[in-house]
């Protein structure tokens, strides 16, 4: 049943990779394992010493190990192969599941494996004593598993399946504390927003599938890169629709609204969601279909670019006004996703994925660090934090590393990936977008510095006595800090460009510009923007003021209010889309149903019973029956009249008799 699909048609780009051997062949294990683990946790988890967390941890540890092996294979030899399992055919379509093992997916396996492992370790401690502990690990394992279904997809159908499963798991996790309506609403919002975007993806997939006659991604990409007319004609629309799907998962403006609300879930969920699973899916999708976009849908790529730029800038601005530490990070994620999408839009495949890669580590680090802080002070609000650097040194140090990495200072990870994006914008000649992206870098540095100052500097403004989290939580922080520091070194133009090679090791080759050395203009623009952002924030919150009331210095009321209200986007959605549907449309349809359709039907009943009454009263009772009764009543009346002749008087009778005789005699005589 399992077919190793060695496509001969891709022989052209073959030279540099192998089929990955037995490890690629059995890569399905890491996709299936989380689901088995989730089943086991559901049925046996509660009775185990760690209440099921050990099964979850075991499964992600295995995924981590396996992805390391694949990663190693890819570094050394390069791996690209696909495997298909047929699960049914419909018409001439083959419905296939399978798994793809190539540079891109291996990179994702590694990211998912590493981040999940660390988050799971962290969560064991973080979630201790929380409600539904076992179920939490079930969903968390499923979450990782669904992401693996998505990234391992060799067919668009499996991709869609993973895509929506991720959505459902996020629903379960965001709504973990569903006793509060707010949280379950946030979960619903995430799911529905994604579902709206999924409509785009779904239609896009349908269009591609029916135009190309296959659901296999590799074949679609082959057609896209080999001048097939049919797919060309739908490329633009399909490209846009699929990007709409990516906009949902990867939280691009204006569909980003669910992501900040998703902070309602426990912090490990946010870390996992923002770093490895879920939000990277959209960027991964663009990467997976990149040859299609690059080959025949470049007009669609322009749209991608525009939305990416809008997102990176607008979300960064909102991050400045947030008081909730996790929301700062959430908007920061939206903004960074904007960078990745911008990179994809400008045709820089590697740069986008590279930023995904580095971002995964430092954003996971930042979220876990934030979780550590929140765990200690029992609030999300930075206004109730402050001065924590002394109480929580390890958290502080790692958080600083994450911040610097995100702000894009060398030699930490964010510097290299952001630089590549800026460089590609510069290279492609998108000057205006380049300026915005640089401004975005400035904003990023500013809000992160603000967050650090508000959280760790100044006086402690909260209640109780915060203390450092224990090693189960800080160890993952330190590991991630290590990655956040070094993850950028795998792709330094001119020195070592391993990452480029890793992610371009795939069938359907990627053609892109790879700089031989640094683009120094872009490099210094980004660097100065970052430094300026840090400096300005330091100046405002530390020099001329203190963290408590630094916000006062930059509160330009109108702008501030617009930002605090998130550009009124949520209000707009609720007022003009959700409420009309939920209340006006739904109510009127229901009313139509009961008041008009039902009334119509019921009036049929009424008319029928009215007709029936008429028929019964007038025709049956008043007509036929009456006639029938007349025969008897008529006889009766006639009888009562005629009986009067019978007087009982004999002589009268005889009179009649004689009269009769005479009459008859006369008649007889006359006739004869």
């Amino acid at each position: 049943m399992v077919v190793n699909y060695n496509i001969n048609l891709l022989a052209e780009a073959k030279a540099s990779y192998t089929d990955g051997g037995i490890f690629a062949e059995f890569a399905w294990i890491i996709v299936v394992l989380p689901f088995l683990a989730a089943l086991l946790i559901t049925f046996f988890g509660k009775n185990l010493p760690l209440k099921g967390a050990e099964i979850a941890l075991g499964s992600v540890f295995f995924i981590f190990l396996y992805s390391c092996i694949l990663f190693y294979l890819n570094i050394t030899k390069g791996v690209a192969s696909e495997f298909f399992v047929n699960v049914g055919s419909i018409g001439s379509f083959q419905i296939e599941f399978g798994w793809v093992v190539d540079g891109l997916s291996i990179m994702m396996y590694f990211v998912v494996g590493t981040v999940s492992l660390l988050v799971f370790i962290y969560a064991i401690n973080y979630m201790e004593g929380e409600i539904r502990y076992t179920f939490f690990f079930t969903s968390l394992t499923l979450f990782a598993g669904s992401m693996l279904v998505l990234v391992s997809a060799p067919t668009l159908l499996q991709l869609l399946i993973g895509w929506e499963l991720v959505g459902v798991c996020s629903y379960l996790l965001i709504g973990h504390y569903w006793e509060e309506k707010e949280n379950s609403s946030a979960a619903m919002k995430a799911f529905i927003t994604n579902k709206v975007a999924d409509v785009g993806l779904m239609i896009g997939i349908i269009i591609l599938a029916l135009t190309t006659g296959t659901l296999r991604i590799s074949e679609i990409l082959y057609q896209a890169t080999h001048d097939y007319e049919a797919i060309k004609s739908v490329a633009y629309i399909a490209g846009i629709l699929i990007f709409i799907g990516a906009m949902g998962k990867s939280a691009q403006f204006p569909l980003h609204v669910w992501l900040p609300d998703a902070m309602a879930g426990p912090t490990p969920v946010s870390a996992l969601m923002h770093a490895a699973t879920m939000v990277t899916a959209g960027v991964y999708l663009l990467g997976r279909l990149f040859p299609f976009y690059q080959g025949i849908a470049h007009e669609a790529l322009d749209v991608v670019l525009i939305f990416g730029v809008i997102t990176l800038f607008s979300a960064g601005l909102i991050a400045i006004v947030q008081d909730d530490l996790k929301k700062v990070l959430a908007y920061s994620t939206v903004s960074q996703l904007g960078y990745m999408v911008t990179a994809m839009g400008s045709g820089a495949y590697t740069a986008g994925l590279f930023h995904l890669w580095t971002h995964a580590f430092f954003k996971a680090l930042l979220f876990l660090g934030a979780g550590s802080v929140i765990h200690a002070v029992h609030t999300n609000n930075m206004s109730e934090m402050g001065g924590l650097r002394k109480e929580m040194p390890r958290t502080f140090m790692t958080f600083i590393i994450g911040t610097v990495a995100l702000a894009g200072l060398p030699p930490l990870a964010g510097f290299f990936s952001k630089d590549e994006i800026l460089a590609s914008l510069n290279h492609e000649g998108h000057n205006f977008f380049f300026i915005i992206a640089v401004a975005g870098a400035f904003i990023t540095a500013f809000y992160m510095t603000r967050a650090v100052l508000l959280t760790f500097y100044g006086e402690y403004r909260g209640h109780g006595h915060p203390h450092e989290s224990d090693s189960m939580m800080t160890t993952p922080l330190m590991v991630l800090a290590f990655f956040a520091a070094v993850a950028g070194w795998v792709n330094i133009p001119g020195i070592y460009t391993g990452f480029t090679k890793w992610v371009t090791t795939r069938k359907n080759g990627i053609i892109e510009h790879h700089p031989e050395s640094f683009d120094y203009f872009a490099l210094f623009s980004g660097l100065f923007a970052g430094l300026a952002g840090i400096g300005l924030a330091y100046y405002i919150y530390q020099v001329i003021s203190n963290p408590e009331n630094g916000d006062e210095k930059i509160k330009f009321q109108p702008v501030w209010r617009v930002l605090e209200n998130k550009y009124y986007l949520d209000d707009f959605y609720f007022k003009y889309i959700v409420d009309p549907i939920k209340i006006t449309f739904a109510k009127s349809v229901d009313k139509f149903n009961t008041e008009i359709l039902d009334r119509f039907i019921n009036n049929f009943g009424n008319v029928a019973s009215f007709l029936g009454r008429i028929v019964y009263d007038k025709l049956d009772q008043g007509g036929i029956d009456k006639a029938l009764n007349l025969t008897s009543t008529g006889t009766d009346t006639l009888g009562s009249k005629v009986k009067l002749i019978q007087t009982g008087k004999t002589q009268q009778y005889i009179m009649y008799f004689l009269t009769g005789v005479i009459v008859i005699s006369v008649l007889v005589l006359l006739v004869l």
Binding site: K643, T647, T650, Q651, I654, M655, L658
Partner: protein, 101 residues
């Protein structure tokens, strides 16, 4: 010999009987009137028998039948009248409406 006088006599007798039946109130008189009618018929029977020279004497035999039946009829009739009189103290047939509806 002509039959005419006899027939006229019979018809007169018959008419008298009819008259008697129709106008007399007394039940006995009505019964008597019936006798008159029967005898008018008897006369006719005998006359026609004679006129037709019936050797078998059908008419005369029939007349004797009629006389016999008339006797029986008067017997029963008088008995009924007698009973009625005994019950109602009258023989006026106008007061007898037992046959009414």
């Amino acid at each position: 010999m002509s039959a005419q006088p006899f027939l006229i006599a019979a018809a007169a007798l018959f008419s008298m009987g009819i008259y008697g039946i129709l106008v007399r109130r007394n039940a006995v008189m009505v019964l008597l009137s019936i006798e008159l009618i029967l005898n008018a018929v008897n006369i006719n029977f005998v006359v026609f028998n004679q006129m037709l020279s019936d050797v078998l004497l059908n008419g005369q035999i029939f007349a004797i039948f009629v006389i016999t039946i008339a006797a029986a009829e008067v017997g029963i009739g008088l008995a009924i009248v007698l009973m009625l009189f005994r019950n109602r103290q009258t023989a006026n047939i106008n007061e007898f409406d037992l046959m009414k509806w």
